[in-house]
Amino acid sequence: MPTLLTSPRTRPALALLPAVLGLLAGHFLGLQPWALLVVAALVVGIAQQTLP
């Protein structure tokens, strides 16, 4: 799976689904920028614990 995610051929195709889901979520759920900010801040802060 990591290879699939780093391949320049498959990566854009794999990004399509989350892009569409994000658009739909933003449109139908009315997600506000501050909510996206807080969730992204939480998740990326946790993910950054894996940084070398």
């Binding site: 658009l23 920028p33 996206l36 900010l37 992204a40 801040a41 998740v43 990326v44 802060g45 894996t50």
Partner: protein
């Protein structure tokens, strides 16, 4: 992180790693609040249509980047190693401040880009600062907590990207419906 805290331990109250850890986290919160407030202030300073235009352009560039590159555009470096040589409060304070700002060191994940872009889109310095402080608390506070418990997370960055990359693209695209009506 452990080096930052232990090197900050000198005489007086800095003999305590708890105090050094607190300085580290408070400095990170300060740096983050400043960065967030700046982004929010910048968003509030421009007309809504221009703000939306700038944000849509930045979001589009970020989505394209995330769709093609596994490693984000970043300053691929750690905090200045010379700061470790101070052996006093500055070691914790400088490192904390830099880590709180976020962009001056390695960010590692495309998802990080949602933070400044969403902060800009909120156009509210207080909300943006609060969101950035959440980032600092999670980034640095969690590191300090894990360090105090002798828990170290090494590697795993590729696995973490499997979650954060789709989330980054989704979160960035979720900004479009918010920004589009302002154009």
């Amino acid at each position: 992180m452990i080096i930052m805290i232990t090197r900050a331990r000198v005489s007086g109250c800095f003999g305590s790693s708890v105090v050094a850890g607190a300085v580290l986290v408070l400095s990170a919160m300060t740096g983050a609040a400043l960065a967030g407030a700046s982004a929010g202030l910048l968003g509030a300073a421009v007309e809504p249509s221009l703000r939306a235009l700038l944000a849509v352009a930045a979001v589009t560039v970020s989505v394209a980047g995330a769709a093609f590159k596994p490693v984000p555009w970043q300053l691929d470096r750690e905090t200045d190693t010379r700061w470790l040589g101070y052996n006093d409060w500055r070691t914790a304070a400088y490192n904390g401040f830099a880590l709180g700002l976020g962009f001056t060191t390695r960010i590692g994940f495309w998802l990080w880009y949602v933070v400044p872009l969403a902060a800009f889109a909120t156009a509210d310095p207080l909300l943006a600062a609060a969101g950035y402080v959440v980032f600092a608390l999670t980034r640095v506070g969690l590191s300090a907590l894990l360090t105090s418990m002798d828990v170290y997370v090494s590697g795993g960055i590729a696995r973490a990207r499997m979650i954060t990359d789709p989330l980054a693209v989704a979160a960035l695209c979720a900004l479009y419906p918010v920004l589009a009506p302002l154009l």
